[in-house]
């Protein structure tokens, strides 16, 4: 009995660390899915209007004037907009980049994981912080 326990111990220890590591994965997959929905549903319109029509001068002059853009962005809806259009898609991108790097054997996954999700979290905080700064300022 004792022998069996002792024999099992190392493998059990290994299992428990694997469980620990698997703990966070549902969170990353959840953020990946949520970000994927936002990327698919919101981003086509956002990119079309803000990154294509606006710089080409195809929107009415006042549509995204400095005043109007500030009013729209630095508000509670603006905060939600940034969450859906910047933060969640960033975590989606981080997840795909991490798995893509694994697929082509770039770097090591433990480090990539920290860099990708850490980067997404950092940029998300910066983005939301900018909105809050605009609301306060």
């Amino acid at each position: 009995m004792m022998d069996k326990l002792a024999m099992n111990k190392p493998s059990m220890g290994k299992n428990s660390t694997q469980h620990k590591q698997a703990f966070d994965e549902p969170l990353w997959w959840g953020l990946f899915s949520a970000g994927g929905v936002c990327f698919a549903v919101f981003l086509p319109a956002v990119i079309l209007f803000i990154a294509v029509l606006l710089p080409l001068g195809l929107l009415p002059a006042e549509a995204l004037s400095y005043e109007r853009a500030s009013t729209l962005l630095f508000s509670v809806p603006g905060f939600l907009f940034v969450g859906a259009v910047v933060c969640l898609p960033l975590f989606h991108a981080a997840h795909r980049l991490r798995h893509g790097m694994f697929d082509i054997s770039v770097g090591n996954d433990a480090l990539n994981k920290k860099l990708m999700y850490g980067g997404a979290a950092l940029l998300s905080i910066v983005a939301l912080g900018l909105v809050v700064a605009g609301m306060l300022g």
């Binding site: 990327f39 549903v41 086509p44 990119i47 995204l64 853009a69 940034v82 795909r96 980049l97 082509i104």
Partner: protein
């Protein structure tokens, strides 16, 4: 799942995915996030510019109009639509919807999501498109 499978399987060559159309499409789908990240960084720069003042905001719009930036963002637009096309077909597989005992056909769920894309575009047109 931790990525320990390399310890059990012989390591794959980096170009394994070039050998089959299915895997090439898979990699293309993975790559859709590259122009997305570019657009997101542009957007963040725009938010900083907006915070700085009217001149910076105008400068950012000029920057967004430079040919390379515009081209990369057009790529991001195409990538977002390709991503949508691949992502929407997953929904009915992951979460089949049943109403009153009848499962909703896959095409209906996919069409509903495309309707969402159109609805968001119409919302943007309502916000920005009118003179």
């Amino acid at each position: 799942m931790d990525k320990l499978s390399t310890q059990r399987l012989p390591p794959l060559k980096r170009n394994w995915w070039l050998k089959h159309r299915f895997f090439k499409l898979y990699m293309l789908r993975e790559a859709t996030v590259l122009p997305l990240v570019f657009f997101t960084l542009c957007l963040l720069a725009g938010m900083v510019a907006l915070l700085q003042g009217a001149d910076s905001w105008q400068g950012w719009i000029v920057f967004m109009g430079s040919p390379i930036v515009l081209l990369l963002n057009l790529l991001a637009l195409a990538a977002s639509l390709f991503h949508a096309a691949t992502f929407f077909v997953l929904f009915p597989r992951v979460m089949p919807i049943r109403i009153a005992g009848h499962s909703l056909p896959d095409q209906a769920i996919v069409a509903g999501q495309w309707a969402g894309v159109v609805a968001v575009a119409l919302l943007f047109f309502w916000l920005f498109g009118r003179a």
